[in-house]
């Protein structure tokens, strides 16, 4: 149980580092971090770790995107999200939340795809 918790935390941190590092490389498309996340999923599958990868990816993606927006909103002037929320007639907090959900879903999905894209034939046989 404890090992599992450490593994989960570690995976979330690795995804977080991947997201933060790759998102700052300007000439690559915004979604490029999903590729190493996907590879991470494959590695998890190869290591035969029994983890709920979508949830892990979702948590990592959510925390980074939701938290990132909040962090910069506090660190910077705090105007842009408020003004954008005003244009869309939604509460300001909804924007980081939506951002978090988007970050979570795509990261989780990338992890899931990574883990499940390959399968062992013997497993198929068992199935």
């Amino acid at each position: 149980m404890k090992i599992n918790l450490i593994q989960n935390t570690l995976i979330i941190m690795i995804i977080g580092i991947i997201m933060m590092t790759l998102s700052n490389i300007d000439f690559l498309p915004w979604w490029v971090f999903l590729l190493p996340v996907l590879i991470l999923g494959i590695i998890i599958s190869l290591l035969k770790l029994n983890l709920k990868v979508f949830i892990l990816g979702f948590i990592a993606g959510f925390v980074i995107w939701f938290g990132g927006n909040l962090f910069f909103d506090i660190k910077y002037n705090g105007f842009v999200l408020a003004k954008l929320a005003n244009v869309l007639s939604v509460p300001k907090l909804l924007l980081p939340l939506v951002s978090g959900i988007i970050g979570g879903v795509i990261t989780g999905l990338a992890m899931y795809v990574g883990k499940n894209v390959l399968k062992y034939t013997e497993l198929t046989n068992v199935d």
Binding site: M19, M20, S23, N24, D26, F27, P29, W30, W31, L34, I64, W65, G67, G68, N69, F71, F72, D73, Y76, N77, G78, F79, V80, L81, K83, L84, N86, V87, L95, V98, S99, I102, G103, V105, I106, L109, A110, Y112, V113, N116, V117, L118, K119, Y120, T121, E122, T124
Partner: protein, 807 residues
């Protein structure tokens, strides 16, 4: 052994579809995966990197030497370059840092390219109208002329390279907010885009005309009444240049109805004309000689009145290079300083307000192949303009033009229905190089050099006020003023002949101008440039009230200092009300009023005619006078088309001198009303409305006079709205709800100029910046900032809050 898990196809597809969806705009929703991404999205626009970092260095930009940019406390950049090309390169670069989206967008507005950014028929309509007026075409032709001048070409190209150096460094994260929000990217800057921005300013300032109204009025009223109600001059004017001592000429005779002008000639189509131009956009500028100031040094004041917008229309900066050191406001997207000062001189600008746009009625063949000119049918020129549209096929519009100019409205497209098949002749279409005026003024050291710079300025006609530390003061009404016969251009012209096409301009030396007058001050505030002794006929849409009030205030005082001049700039007196109020009050028989009305009458009697924040009377006066106008000019409302009312002073003079005039008699009543009857009726009606408003709450002028600073996209969230302000368009402090003093500047010359100024906006064009609209409150409260004109790079460095080094 491993193989691809086919069951995974669905999640893979889902992921790809998600990424695709999030990368693209869906309906009006911007690409969410990009704009909400915390590392590159809009949250990254929530900062002021260039205006907050103490020291920044940017290399490999393409400069020949290093350039230092010092931002002072107000975040005004002071640019120090070692040569002229580097200076204008850096002006482009720094302007792009602060205002890239604004200047880029403005060039689209000017050219008629909004369909490339927005979806919607109304944008296509707008673009077609701009193209048909010939904005893009005029800019292209002007650019051709401009680039023949090596000095302008060098400077304009350096500016363009500077803007492009900044655009090249951008990535999605650093892209200005609006590009992310509207999902497009900046195209490379070009010299043409700078010209387009200059043309748009010309368009705003010289677009207003009333040829159709005047033609209809001439026909409806007949010559006698027309000349009584719409004369070229009336008695309450303070002309900018005094020609009264000169030999009277008779060029401003009463207008005659042109022989061709009759009801079958002009269209009687009833259509509510679209308001495309604002007549009231004006400005104040005046200059006081050292003989009338405390310090003995000349003082110049300038406050151009333009539409309030965010980002601010102006950008303050100091430009310094060998042979040039100037401070003032620039128009983002164009090189040099437009209004400002250097060590020796200061200059201000107001709109000349002359009529430089005429309509010619053409006789066009139904197939738009030919039109009648003289006794021949002549081929119509045509060109096809491609209007690119976002997400749709381009629209191709054919634009016809005659010898007189383009046919803006035809049977396939019109914004002004009553002007279908009329050719428009607009001075703005004539190629000209206004850049060169500013490039030279920026480095002028005396009146001679300054005046030499003015000669390049053609359109829109502007009044340039001038002061020099050698004591010279001057005003010049500068631009292409066509030589006209009496009333030419006031009415629709006959396009079946080319005899009324202007070919000559008033010679430079004969343009209205004055140097060092005896009264020791000069005033320009969109009033008549001259009195009727001027030897050439001209006409325009002049405003007299502000000039009258400024002249009065300047005449009253003999020891001016900067503080007193600022107070004049902020004066809220409506000089028309000062003259009119006693006259109309006298026409009221107080015994017919009830107690409340009597009280209101007394309050009005003691009103100082100021539109101050706390004054409660202005709204009552507004309503009263507007009721008087409506009741008097009811004769002009019975036509299927709206007509422009005579000037307020004409009505006032009529009340005074001819109170039984037929116009005071109301339509549809058996009684024959005279002036006092309608003034009384207007008072009662206004006071009823006034008491209702007062019962509801606040009649304080400041709370009624709400000012809006609209973002260029008109999106309220990016705008600053409903700011309560003092002021009134007819007062010197000409604040209205959407336009007014866009820059207030007061400069006292000396060894080193002392200057104060402020604009309603901020230095940054970024909606996420602290410096986007941070001057607005102070501006609204009539505060001024000291303008730091650093005489040397050392002082600039010492005064700097943050530094940007460019190489």
């Amino acid at each position: 052994m491993m193989k691809i898990n086919l069951n995974c196809l669905f999640p893979v597809a889902a992921l790809i579809i998600l990424i695709y969806t999030l990368s693209n705009q869906l309906f009006d929703v911007p690409p969410l995966g990009k704009i909400l991404n915390p590392f590159i999205g809009v949250i990254q626009n929530d900062q002021d990197k260039y205006l907050n970092d103490n020291y920044l260095k940017e290399n490999n930009l393409g400069l020949s030497d290093s350039v230092s940019v010092f931002f002072d406390q107000a975040k005004v950049p002071h640019i120090y370059a070692k040569n002229i090309e580097d200076l204008y390169f850096s002006q482009g670069y720094v302007t792009a840092i602060l205002r890239l989206w604004q200047m880029d967008f403005t060039s689209y507005v000017s050219a008629g390219r909004l369909s490339e950014i927005f979806n919607g028929e109304n944008y296509l309509q707008y673009d077609r109208n701009q193209r048909r007026m010939g904005m893009l075409e005029a800019a292209k032709r002007s650019l051709f002329l401009i680039e023949k001048n090596p000095e302008t070409k060098k400077i304009l190209s350096a500016y363009t390279r500077g803007v492009n150096a900044y655009i090249k460094r951008l990535n999605y994260r650093t892209l200005p907010f609006e590009y992310k929000f509207l999902n497009y990217t900046p195209e490379p800057w070009s010299n043409l885009k700078s010209v387009l921005i200059m043309k748009l300013m010309g368009n705003t300032l010289s677009g207003y005309e009333k040829d159709m109204d005047m033609s209809r009025l001439m026909l409806i009223l007949g010559e006698k009444k027309f000349n009584l109600l719409y004369p070229d001059f009336h008695s309450n004017i303070t002309p900018m240049v005094d020609y009264s001592k000169r030999k009277p000429r008779s060029v401003f005779n009463a207008a005659k109805r042109p022989a061709y002008l009759n009801f079958s000639f002009i269209s009687s189509i009833s259509s509510k004309p679209k308001v495309l131009f604002n007549r009231k956009l004006g400005s104040n500028s005046w200059v006081i000689s050292g003989k009338k100031t405390k310090s003995g040094l000349p003082i110049l004041a300038s406050d151009p009145h333009l539409n309030f917008a965010l980002p601010c229309v102006w950008l303050q900066m100091q430009l310094s290079a060998p042979g040039l050191d100037v401070y003032g406001v620039s128009i983002p997207g164009t090189p040099s300083i437009i209004i400002g000062f250097n060590k020796n001189i200061a200059w201000g600008i107001t709109n000349g307000a002359d009529d430089v746009k005429d309509w010619y009625k053409l006789q066009v063949n139904g197939d738009y192949k030919t039109y009648k000119l003289g006794d021949k049918m002549v081929k119509l020129d045509s060109r096809i303009e491609e209007i690119k549209r976002k997400g749709q096929k381009s629209f191709f519009d054919t634009i016809y033009s005659s010898k007189h100019g383009p046919i803006v409205n035809d049977n396939r497209f019109f914004s002004q229905r009553e002007l279908i098949d009329y050719a428009m002749k607009w001075e703005l279409a004539t190629p000209s190089n206004e850049f060169l005026t500013f490039i030279h003024i920026n480095k002028a050291k005396n009146y001679r050099e300054y005046k030499e710079s003015l000669k390049y300025f053609s359109c829109p006609i502007q009044n340039f006020t001038f002061a020099c530390n050698d004591g010279t003061i001057a005003v010049n009404h500068q631009g292409n003023m066509a030589i006209k016969y009496n009333s030419q251009g006031r009415f629709i012209l006959d396009g079946s002949t080319d005899s009324s096409l202007n070919t000559k301009y008033i010679p430079l030396d004969s343009l209205p101008q004055q140097v060092n007058p005896k009264c020791n001050y000069l005033v320009s505030a969109n009033q008549h440039p001259t009195d009727s002794n001027y030897p050439y006929y001209y006409n325009g849409y002049y405003s007299e009230n502000r000039a009258n009030q400024i002249s009065k205030m300047l005449a009253e005082e003999s020891k001016f200092d900067i503080n007193k001049v600022e107070k004049i700039q902020l004066d809220n007196t409506n000089s028309f009300a000062v003259v009119a109020l006693p006259i109309i009050l006298k026409k009221i028989d107080k015994s017919n009023l009830n107690a409340n009305q009597k009280h209101l009458y007394d309050l009005m009697k003691s009103w100082d005619c100021s539109y101050n924040f706390n004054s409660e009377i202005p709204k009552m006066f507004e309503w009263w006078w507007s009721n008087i106008k409506n009741l008097t000019w009811d004769e002009l409302t019975k036509y299927p088309f709206p007509l422009v009312n005579p000037d307020d002073y004409i009505l006032l003079n009529l009340i005074e001198t001819d109170p039984t005039n037929i116009f005071f008699d109301k339509l549809n009543t058996s009684k024959k009303e005279i002036a006092s009857n309608i003034i009384f009726e207007a008072f009662i009606k206004a006071s009823n409305d006034y008491f209702k408003l007062k019962n509801k709450g606040n009649v304080k002028w400041g709370n009624l006079n709400r000012v809006n600073f609209l973002h260029l996209t008109k999106i309220p969230a990016f705008s600053k709205l409903n700011i309560p302000c003092a002021g009134y368009p007819e007062a010197i402090n000409a604040i209205s709800n959407s336009w007014g003093p866009s820059w207030r500047m007061v400069v006292q010359l000396g060894n080193v100029p002392t200057a104060y100024g402020i604009y309603p906006g901020g230095q940054s064009g970024n909606v996420g910046s602290k410096y986007y609209d941070n001057f607005i409150n102070d501006w609204g409260h009539g505060k001024y900032y000291h303008l730091n004109f650093y005489p040397s790079i050392g002082e600039a460095r010492a005064g700097a809050k943050n530094t940007l080094l460019l190489k």
